[in-house]
């Protein structure tokens, strides 16, 4: 049974096994709980979307995820033109717990954001795939620390963090710190951080096919956004996100 829950003022949320729960958290200028703790009970399953309105300024916001044995979670964090903010996203995984996390940052003008994400894999056989994509325009700034911590108890775990940054203007700035702290040896663990952009050659190629430079950039940004919503599984929300993003481009 699928249920969509619009989060309001709940400080702690516990998801039991059995339901397919979709948690939606809309963040607007005036409305954001500073701390929220989520627990997924054994074998529970949930999806979560953090959807920010453009122009939000929020400091010291913390979200904590605790996954018990066998639980699985898909998180989608969309930071759309966050004017400023410092965020902490913490995750703790027990045996055989799974997380797939996607973050998309779109920054313009004077936007400035700092995110510290940590993923603690404490359980045997735990699994994680974290994808962070950032597209910064204007004078926007992003500092993103993603700590992937594989503890000594997490043997047989399989984890990855992949971060990609696109600076779309001369004055945008990005700082990526993908930490990989491994204390168990029978594991697969890795991370990558890279820039992606349209090179001069790439741009010439696209223009020679009829696209203006602006159209090419826009197409690229939309591709990124479509990639973000790919696994979301909620058609209406995906459409809302895509139209929200393309309106800002």
């Amino acid at each position: 049974m699928q249920s969509l829950i619009n989060l309001q003022t709940e400080k702690t949320i516990k998801i039991e096994a059995g339901d397919d729960t979709f948690l939606l958290e809309r963040i607007s200028k005036d409305d954001c709980l500073p701390e929220r703790d989520f627990t997924l009970a054994e074998n529970a399953h949930a999806r979560y979307l953090l959807l920010m309105e453009p122009g939000v300024s929020l400091e010291k916001i913390r979200r904590f995820w605790h996954l018990e044995a066998g639980a699985s979670l898909q998180t989608y964090y969309l930071f759309l033109e966050a004017k400023s903010g410092t965020w902490q996203l913490q995750h703790h995984l027990a045996d055989r717990a799974k997380i797939e996390s996607h973050s998309l940052f779109l920054g313009r003008e004077q936007d400035s954001l700092e995110v510290k994400a940590s993923y603690d894999f404490a359980g045997r056989g735990s699994f994680g795939r974290v994808q962070v994509d950032a597209w910064l325009d204007g004078d926007s700034r992003l500092r993103y620390d993603a700590d992937l911590n594989v503890l000594a108890t997490a043997q047989q775990s399989d984890t990855r963090v992949d971060m990609r940054l696109r600076l779309a203007s001369k004055s945008a700035r990005g700082q990526l710190i993908p930490g990989l702290n491994i204390a168990a040896n029978d594991v697969r663990a890795g991370h990558s951080a890279s820039t992606f952009q349209l090179s001069k050659e790439d741009l010439f190629y696209l223009r020679s096919r009829g696209l203006s430079p602006e159209a090419a950039q826009k197409l690229f940004a939309l591709s990124l956004s479509r990639n973000f919503v790919k696994g979301l599984g909620e058609a209406e929300l995906s459409a809302e996100i895509l139209s929200l993003i393309s309106a800002r481009l």
């Binding site: 594989v150 000594a152 043997q155 940054l165 600076l167 779309a168 203007s169 001369k170 004055s171 945008a172 700035r173 990005g174 700082q175 990526l176 710190i177 993908p178 930490g179 990989l180 702290n181 491994i182 204390a183 168990a184 040896n185 029978d186 594991v187 697969r188 663990a189 890795g190 991370h191 990558s192 951080a193 890279s194 820039t195 952009q197 090179s199």
Partner: protein
């Protein structure tokens, strides 16, 4: 040299109680700094530099990041001692007890064909240098830095501690105050030296600090390869090594700095190595870090000229009770600069290896390209590997790719080798040597053999 390495440690552990220890004292203060300068008969400018550095050292706190350095008692370490009066011009002039030590370690006496010159540092004074006649003719200067300060002030003064300023961190300031000995290498424009230049030094007396400074200037279009390899036997008291290496690679020049370091198990190895690279010039750092209680080493390349490039290749092996906190720093200032970092680390028996990297692409670094690849092998469940890369990206046209992975030796590989008759420890050593091959293949043969041998020693349980 490799053939003389033995598996039992007594060879490395010998303690050579030399007479010079009497002239040394513990702790660092203005009196010591003045005495050092006086004994070396240094010019005024060097003394005032030392005193300025001392003042900064007293003020600065220990770094709060990185490994725990609180057990390091800076006052207990003996700062200065002179091993012998003058400097030997040829092997025959080297004092006998020093020769015995070098002999036992199998340091090559014959340096004619392959090596251009050997500088050996014993404690804090360089005792032996020789320079081949050809180099003298070409204008290449390969000299004890203490001597170069007086003999070539016009070359040393403008460069000394500029790319490694005393304000960089506490140990740079300490170094600036009490540095002693080291190498001055000057390659004139257009001169290309094919044979690698070597320097040898070693920390011996109990609690000795080592503060040698290497200053290398490679003029435009020149080319050379310099190798530093060192070893130190074990003691109960913490030994400190806070050396400094400064390299200036001018337009179109190419330079490689290789070092294989295997410090004693209780040494603190906190070296600072920095290079500044000009237009279309190329700098290479190739390094191996073994042993030592705590190593903090982050060779840094500053790419200031258009089209400048740097390669950083390194191996770190952290055994029981060791922390290898190493990495690479590349600062891209100019356009079309490129860098390539390949780091391999191995941790065993609870050892901890840390890669700390910084890649900074400045606003002026149009079309810069960076590639970083870090791989970590954890040989057992007690060992730890951390990879902490910091990427500061301030230019939209830069292409940056960083990849890191961690894991254990592939069980299939081990099984395969064992099925061919190798014992488990041998097979594991072979896999690890294969793991680091991208780095060892860049070293001259005797060094790559030594590095492989060190891996084998570390892998056997007789060590550590």
């Amino acid at each position: 040299m490799a053939e003389d390495l033995k598996t039992n440690d007594s060879l490395w552990d010998e303690y050579n109680p030399s007479e010079y220890m009497r002239s040394a004292k513990s702790g660092v203060d203005e009196a010591l700094v003045r005495r050092i300068s006086l004994e070396k008969e240094e010019p005024e400018w060097m003394l005032s530099r030392r005193l300025a550095a001392l003042a900064i050292f007293k003020e600065m706190p220990l770094p709060t990041w990185g490994p725990d350095l609180s057990r390091l008692d800076l006052d207990k370490i003996t700062y200065y001692a002179k091993a012998m009066e003058g400097q030997a011009q040829s092997w025959e002039d080297v004092p006998i007890d020093i020769k015995n030590t070098f002999d036992k370690l199998g340091i090559p006496k014959a340096e004619q064909e392959v090596l251009a010159g050997v500088g050996a540092q014993y404690e804090s004074t360089v005792v032996y240098h020789s320079l081949k006649a050809e180099f003298k003719r070409q204008g290449v200067i390969f000299e004890d830095l203490d001597v170069a300060v007086k003999k070539y002030p016009e070359l040393v003064q403008p460069y000394f501690m500029k790319v490694m300023p005393v304000s960089l961190h506490k140990f740079a300031a300490l170094h600036g105050a009490v540095w002693s000995g080291g190498t001055f290498l000057y390659i004139p424009a257009g001169v290309k030296i094919k044979e690698p230049l070597q320097a040898y030094f070693r920390m011996n007396a109990k609690g000795m600090g080592q503060f040698e400074h290497t200053l290398i200037i490679v003029e435009s279009g020149a080319q050379a390869h310099y190798i530093e390899g060192c070893s130190a036997p074990r003691y109960g008291v913490d030994s400190l090594h806070a050396g400094g290496v400064e390299i200036y690679v001018k337009e179109g020049a190419r330079f490689r700095y290789s070092s294989v370091e295997s410090w004693s198990k209780d040494a603190y190895n906190l070296n600072t190595k920095r290079a500044i690279v000009e237009k279309k010039a190329h700098m290479e750092w190739v390094g191996g870090n073994f042993g030592s209680n705590t190593t903090m080493l982050y060779p840094c390349s500053i790419l200031v000229g258009e089209g400048a490039s740097a390669d950083h290749l390194g191996v770190a092996f952290a055994n029981q009770g060791q922390i290898q906190d190493t990495g690479a720093k590349v600062i891209h200032v100019a356009a079309r600069t490129t860098s390539n970092i390949v780091m391999k680390s191995i941790s065993k028996n609870g050892g901890k290896s840390v890669y700390r990297g910084l890649v900074e692409v400045g606003p002026g670094a149009e079309d810069a390209a960076v590639s970083v690849k870090c791989d970590a092998l954890l040989l057992d469940e007690f060992s730890i590997s951390d990879t902490i890369p910091v990427m500061k990206i301030n230019n939209a046209s830069a292409t940056i790719a960083h990849e890191a992975s961690a894991g254990k030796i592939n069980a299939e590989d081990l099984f395969y080798l064992r099925s061919r008759g190798l014992k488990e420890a041998e097979a594991a050593a072979m896999v690890v040597n294969g793991f680091i091959e991208p780095i060892t293949k860049e070293l001259p043969l005797e060094y790559s053999v030594e590095m492989n041998r060190m891996v084998e020693l570390e892998m056997e349980n007789s060590v550590g």
